[in-house]
């Protein structure tokens, strides 16, 4: 199965939820905004959604400093 992560192709070995996928990518759930097929998802929704082939995921990660 293949999805698009920030417009780059990404191959998934096994079925996974958005939560599982983000965790596997090493992303900190506290510092990211996730857009799934054009819609901003709340953090609570991440574990409810199984990624499907050709899904589009945009992840905006913030780092500290100001």
């Amino acid at each position: 199965m293949q999805i698009l992560l920030n417009s780059e192709k990404e191959t998934l070995e096994k079925q996974s939820t958005i939560s599982e996928f983000l965790l596997a990518k090493g992303l900190n759930p506290e510092t990211i905004i996730v857009e799934y097929n054009g819609k901003i998802l709340k953090k609570q929704e991440w574990s409810d959604i199984e990624l499907q082939d050709q899904d589009q995921l945009e992840v905006l990660n913030f780092v500290g400093g100001g």
Partner: protein
């Protein structure tokens, strides 16, 4: 309003022209955080003629802030919003400033910035940056954030990223603050100046 410009505003009118200055003076800008980004954005925007601000920060000034924030040695220990009010009024004495010393959280962000047309994300911590950007990403407010501004290398990597029509992020998106990568005046100032310029351009040209 048009007739009672102070002498700085008259000078600005000569620089910008009355039409541009009138647009600038109608906008209300919210600044979330009055640290390195927020205090320097405020200065840039006041110098650019903006008059109406809502500026919020819970913190007091520490000596460690003087390396990049728009405060002075004799202001250490005072609330940032109080000292910033004085410093901004020293540039233009006729500003309309709503300064508030409190912590911004998900539950109070809406009421704090309700009247603002534009919001500057000027927090230090990543999870607060995320919180406020996520809160306004689908709103009608214009939001300018910064992420990835630590250290001193490659200042040309501090780019303006247009994420959506109403959301811009300045920075390299990667360089978070750490022991090896402290926040320093030059890059923090560059980021704040770019955030301010995005707003000036947006207000003058309409996008």
């Amino acid at each position: 309003m048009e007739n009672d410009k102070n002498r700085f505003e008259e000078a600005l009118c000569n620089t910008f022209g009355a039409d541009h200055l009138s647009k600038i003076q109608q906008v209300t800008i919210g600044i979330a955080g009055a640290g390195g980004l927020g205090s320097n954005c405020a200065v840039n925007l006041v110098r650019s003629g903006f008059q109406h601000f809502v500026i919020v920060d819970f913190d007091v000034i520490d000596y460690s802030n003087l390396n990049r924030q728009f405060y002075f040695y004799n202001q250490v220990g005072r609330p940032k919003v109080e000292a910033l009010r004085e410093n901004l009024l020293a540039i233009n004495p006729d500003l309309h400033l709503e300064m508030s010393q409190q912590k911004i959280e998900e539950h109070n962000v809406d009421s704090i910035f309700q009247k603002c047309d534009i919001i500057i994300e000027a927090f230090d911590q990543a999870r607060y940056k995320k919180m406020i950007v996520e809160h306004y990403i689908n709103s009608d407010k214009f939001v300018v954030s910064a992420s990835g501004i630590a250290g001193w290398s490659n200042s040309d990597d501090l780019k303006t990223h247009k994420i959506k029509d109403n959301l811009y992020i300045v920075g390299d998106l990667l360089s978070g603050v750490s022991k090896e990568l402290p926040p320093c005046a030059p890059k923090v100032n560059i980021a704040a100046a770019k955030q301010s310029n995005i707003i000036l351009n947006y207000v003058v040209t309409g996008g």
